[in-house]
């Protein structure tokens, strides 16, 4: 007998009460999110329809959207966001998978190594970025010193001073920070690959590369999709690293959409337009999520009995 259980008489209202119970369980979460996420979003949408100058607001309909879309800044930021996100996520997945595979083979100091590789992800992104800012300092930073000593560069490089190297540096820091997350998921996934499949493949004469391609990868495929999706969600909204290291410069080389949003809201003081950028971002998010639903339906692994 379960503690707290009392024999209840049959009342005949079972099904309705069941549904009512169901709502009760999900209601707290829904109410909470409605208050904390949906309401501010709605307010942001309402703001995007106004021309805001401080405490003075006037309704202008869709004019903010027109202005945002006709200015170069938005399209440029979109393009930078796309490059930044796709390169970062691709590297996250490749390096994360690689590290997971490597760590899976190693027996010694397993836990210690895992914790070690998790550390960049555990530190606040802004703090990680500040450390790298200091490391990449042209005159006094240790990276230029080491590269110079190793003979790899002739003169100190201004990492964050040139558009291309700034983009590379910022991407590198994002990769440093984000690989552990994917690695963690992949490590977990590797442990669920049934050993019998490996054994069967070996018996069939498959070598390491073939075992990887025909046993490991199919089993990991779904998890890879999950990992990259979560990763994309994380990277798209990311502003901390770029905010600390370059604030969107030099000459807009690292101005991703969240940076544009922040600058429009708090530097240019155009809340209406900033909200419009946010809503446009939301629309892009929605379309992406529709695509995601399709893809995961296709890629769902066969249910286990």
């Amino acid at each position: 007998m379960i503690r707290g259980a009392k024999a209840r008489p049959w009342t005949g209202h079972g099904l309705a009460r069941e549904r009512w119970h169901g709502y009760l369980f999900i209601a707290p979460m829904l109410v909470f999110l409605a208050a904390v996420v949906i309401a501010p979003l709605g307010h942001a949408f309402w703001t995007s329809l106004h021309r805001i100058r401080g405490l003075n607001a006037s309704f202008v309909g869709l004019r903010n959207y027109a202005r945002v879309l006709e200015e170069d800044a938005f399209w440029h930021a979109l393009q930078v966001s796309l490059s930044f996100t796709s390169i970062s996520v691709a590297l996250h997945v490749l390096l994360g998978l690689g590290l997971a595979l490597a760590l899976n083979e190693i027996r010694m100091a397993r836990t210690a190594l895992r914790i070690l590789f998790l550390t960049p992800w555990m530190v606040a992104p802004a703090i990680g970025a500040t450390i790298w800012l200091w490391l990449l300092e042209p005159q006094f930073g240790v990276v230029n010193y080491l590269l110079g000593q190793a003979g790899l560069i002739a003169a100190p490089v201004a990492w964050l001073g040139e558009p291309r190297t700034a983009f590379a540096a910022v991407t590198m820091v994002e990769v440093w920070r984000g690989v552990p997350f994917v690695m963690l998921l992949m490590l977990a996934g590797l442990q669920t690959v049934p050993l019998e499949q490996y054994e069967a493949a070996s018996i069939d004469g498959a070598n390491a590369r073939q075992r990887f391609r025909y046993v490991t990868m199919p089993n990991l495929r779904y998890l890879l999709i999950v990992a990259s999706t979560l990763d994309i969600i994380n990277v798209v909204r990311h502003y901390d690293i770029i905010g600390v290291m370059t604030a969107g410069g030099p000459a807009g080389a690292t101005e991703v959409l969240p940076a544009l949003l922040y600058n429009t809201a708090f530097r240019a003081n155009r809340f209406g337009e900033a909200a419009a950028i946010g809503v446009l971002l939301l629309l892009m998010v929605l379309s992406f999520s529709v695509v995601y639903l399709r893809v995961t339906r296709i890629a769902r692994p066969d249910p286990v009995t």
């Binding site: 996420v37 979003l41 998921l185």
Partner: protein, 277 residues
């Protein structure tokens, strides 16, 4: 082991060690800088190990600046939001897996993707809401905000986890006369512990590291959290690098300890939760 095997192992270890160095070097440098005296920070060439290492920067932080208080605030806010988030997520995940709702998966995915929105968009309306509720400068405002960040992801992950717990178990309890709620608490929840731990760790991490919300929602220095305390040391006109790095170490250490202790649960939870959807 044949020659190929030996080469492979060497290459493997080589790659892992190289990756380890790149991963950990910034933290070593952070520690190094935090222990140096101010005069040695700008040495060219920079010093890797210093005879003058001392804990002076840490002392300054804990005595002259209320870092201990910041630490406590961060702890309260993070633990609070973790408890709230886990509770709401567990209830919701149970509801989604034990009851049938049309469009449930669409709703969850949509909520997950709203996390793509930058914080900047939400802070002003949220501030106004909290101000009207009289919750500025309270732990409550931050706890509520932070719980909402991790909620969609937590629900999503716990759904996967709860699905792996067979319904027959709760049904057996209900047949025995327990209500749904009792079945949830006494039967299902204990089985879901690894998943709950994983969700708790994620939420704790997000809350502990968050900055923009605390920046805007707290004005009383007694209520500042660690991330705000560290950021305040970056003046545009002066950055005390050794103190800044010491602050960063203090901010990062607890999370690392927590993860070191609970890492095993994390892996098993992800295994259950994310793999089986």
């Amino acid at each position: 082991m044949n020659r190929n095997g030996a080469t492979a192992t060497v290459l493997l270890w080589g790659a892992v060690l190289a990756a380890a160095i790149v991963t950990i070097f910034p933290f070593y440098w952070m520690l190094n800088t935090s222990l140096k005296p101010a005069s040695e920070i700008f040495l060219s060439p920079p010093s890797f190990v210093s005879r003058n290492w001392s804990f002076a920067a840490y002392e300054t932080l804990l005595t002259l600046r209320p870092f201990a208080r910041y630490f406590l605030n961060s702890l309260i806010v993070s633990v609070g939001s973790t408890l709230l988030s886990v509770a709401l997520a567990a209830l919701a995940a149970y509801g989604f897996t034990r009851f049938h709702f049309r469009g449930a998966s669409v709703l969850i995915i949509f909520l997950l993707f709203t996390k793509m929105l930058p914080e900047t968009l939400l802070i002003i309306p949220y501030f106004r809401l909290m101000s009207e509720l009289g919750l500025l400068n309270t732990y409550a405002a931050l706890i509520i905000a932070y719980s909402s960040f991790a909620l969609p992801f937590s629900v999503w992950m716990l759904i996967g986890f709860f699905r792996s717990i067979p319904r027959e178990i709760d049904e057996a309890a209900i047949v025995d006369g327990a209500t749904r709620l009792v079945a949830f608490f006494r039967v299902v929840l204990p089985l879901a512990l690894p998943g709950l731990v994983a969700v708790a760790l994620f939420t704790f991490l997000i809350s502990w590291n968050s900055y923009v919300w605390a920046l805007v929602l707290t004005t009383d220095p007694q209520m500042y959290v660690l991330s705000v305390g560290v950021a305040n040391m970056v003046g545009e006109y002066r950055v005390q690098w050794n103190e800044l790095m010491a602050g960063a170490v203090i901010a990062a250490a607890p999370v690392m300890v927590l993860y070191a202790l609970l890492e095993r649960h994390l892996v098993s939870a992800i295994t259950a939760g994310a793999v089986k959807d």
